[in-house]
Amino acid sequence: MKKKLLIFSSIFFFIGLFILIILVNHLEPKRIEISKIDEKKLEEWVKVRGEVSEVRVVKTRTGEMVLFKLSDETASIYIIFNGKNFTETRVEVIGKVIEYKGNLQIQAKKIKK
């Protein structure tokens, strides 16, 4: 029984993992308006689009991060990004809603033009 279970679980694991890889690489969260981001969305993945402003390079205890403000027609929110500085003025951000010093921010995973 052990061997059968091992074989079956291995096969299903790889099939499932393969599907998961495809989904994670190709699926994106739905784009939402920044005003819709509130405490209930904490720790959720979101996609937002808007104008970039107030770009700053922030030195933390352990490295550098890029902080900027993203504004769409409804509201604005600060985005923190662990990557290189950029010059685009209109971007699409995919990231997780986090809390920092009392405010909601988005920790960006991907930034697109």
């Binding site: 499932g16 998961l20 699926l27 405490e39 904490l42 720790e43």
Partner: protein, 397 residues
């Protein structure tokens, strides 16, 4: 003062609820409290609400082991208690298993307090070196654990693939509360499914006094302090990784390991409040909300939290024993096979509710991996790669 006592009382009640019910995390209750806080601010202060959260969090640390050990339904912090707890359950020692984690939790709180004061002054200093060093520490202990196995290749394979799986799950944008399906599927459901398929039955549970050797207590204390202090101040690592670190430091029997898990559970929770004060960073979901209620933490509040924690711990010591007694007496009334199936179905229904429909895929894949790990006959701890590898990657990037 009276308000604080009320807060502790309700905090303990809330902690019992979140601890006993799988899938309900204290962060959820803290979030609800935060959303409702404007209503509370009319007749109470943020400090009182923070005390509620501290009491709830500490209670949760104690009670969470009960569903993990008796029902095989763990949360992130207690995932590693499932197997040793289950082993003891099969020997009729389920009560003893809980007693061990409970004693660990209580001792953890008591020992953590003096060390907390030490860390308040030193945390800031060590932070940078810790931050740079932790990915290597984690990698080192994971490899050490693999090398100590008889079946090294299988262990490495499981570690690696759990890392890939964990990485994918944490980046899966369709699900929320990713840790719930991740840990339930890796540690909980495989055990339940296998127990069901193998028609495992539990013997009558004996309620008897727990005996631990003094040297085991000392081992437990120093390994818990070491691992808890390493993880409590850094982002992305918590009680689960601390348990892995402790396990790699010294070989322990199931009993001692459960004791250590209990200690780590409360220690990491307490240290996370210290971290909030010492380096202004909340390292647990609970600390996040305490930080929101009390943006200007001072030593006075930390000391109050420690007092709350110690009081709560003493109360929870008896509450946990009480529940363990109830579970021990009643778990043999229904055939264990059906308990396992029932819990499994419950988790299958709960997972999509908590994390979204897509989390069922995660649940499926994780369960398969967990079953593979069981069938290989290696320690479950390698499945921690699901958290450790993504964290290492995150720190190194």
């Amino acid at each position: 003062m009276l308000q604080i006592l009320f807060a502790i009382f309700f905090g303990i009640l809330a902690g019992i609820f979140t601890g006993l019910v799988p899938g309900v995390h204290i962060n959820l209750v803290a979030l609800i409290l935060f959303i409702l806080s404007p209503y509370f601010s009319n007749f109470t202060s943020p400090l009182v609400l923070a005390c509620f959260i501290v009491a709830m969090a500490i209670t949760h640390c104690f009670i969470d082991f009960i569903p993990s050990i008796f029902l095989g339904a763990p949360k992130e912090e207690t995932a590693l208690s499932v197997l040793p707890g289950h082993r003891m359950l099969l020997k009729g020692k389920g009560y003893e298993a809980i007693k061990l984690t409970t004693i660990g939790c209580l001792l953890g709180t008591l020992v953590a307090c003096p060390f907390a004061i030490f860390f308040i002054f030193t945390a800031s200093f060590f932070y940078y070196y810790l931050y740079k060093g932790i990915p290597f520490i984690l990698l080192g202990i994971s490899l050490l654990l693999i090398i100590k196995e008889n079946k090294k290749i299988e262990a490495f394979f499981i570690f690696l693939f759990s890392g890939v799986f964990g990485f994918l799950t944490l980046n899966f944008t369709l699900i929320k509360q990713a840790l719930f399906p991740l840990f339930t599927s890796l540690f909980g459901s495989p055990l339940l499914l296998i127990s069901f398929l193998q028609n495992v039955s539990i013997p009558k549970q004996k309620i008897r006094k727990v005996k631990i050797q003094k040297k085991d207590i000392l081992t437990g204390i120093w390994s818990s302090i070491l691992s808890s202090s390493l993880v409590s101040f850094l982002p992305g690592v918590g009680a689960a990784q601390a348990a892995s670190i402790s396990a790699s430091l010294k070989k322990m029997s199931s009993k001692v390991f459960l004791f250590v898990l209990g200690m780590i559970s409360t220690m990491t929770m307490l240290f996370s409040f210290v971290a909030l004060y010492a380096i202004q960073k909340p390292r647990t979901g609970v600390a996040v909300f305490v930080g929101k209620f009390l943006p200007g933490l001072s030593e006075k509040e930390i000391i109050l939290f420690m007092v709350v924690a110690v009081l709560t711990s003493f109360v929870c010591f008896f509450i946990a024993s009480f529940f363990a007694r109830i579970f021990s007496k009643n778990i043999t009334k229904i055939k264990y096979k059906w308990i396992c199936l029932g819990i499994l179905i419950f988790l299958l229904i709960l997972t999509p509710i908590v994390s979204g429909l897509a989390s069922l895929l995660v649940f499926f894949v994780g369960t398969c991996l967990g079953i593979m790990a069981s069938m290989f006959g290696i320690r479950k701890i390698h499945l921690m790669g699901s958290l450790i590898l993504p964290v290492i990657i995150w720190y190194l990037s």
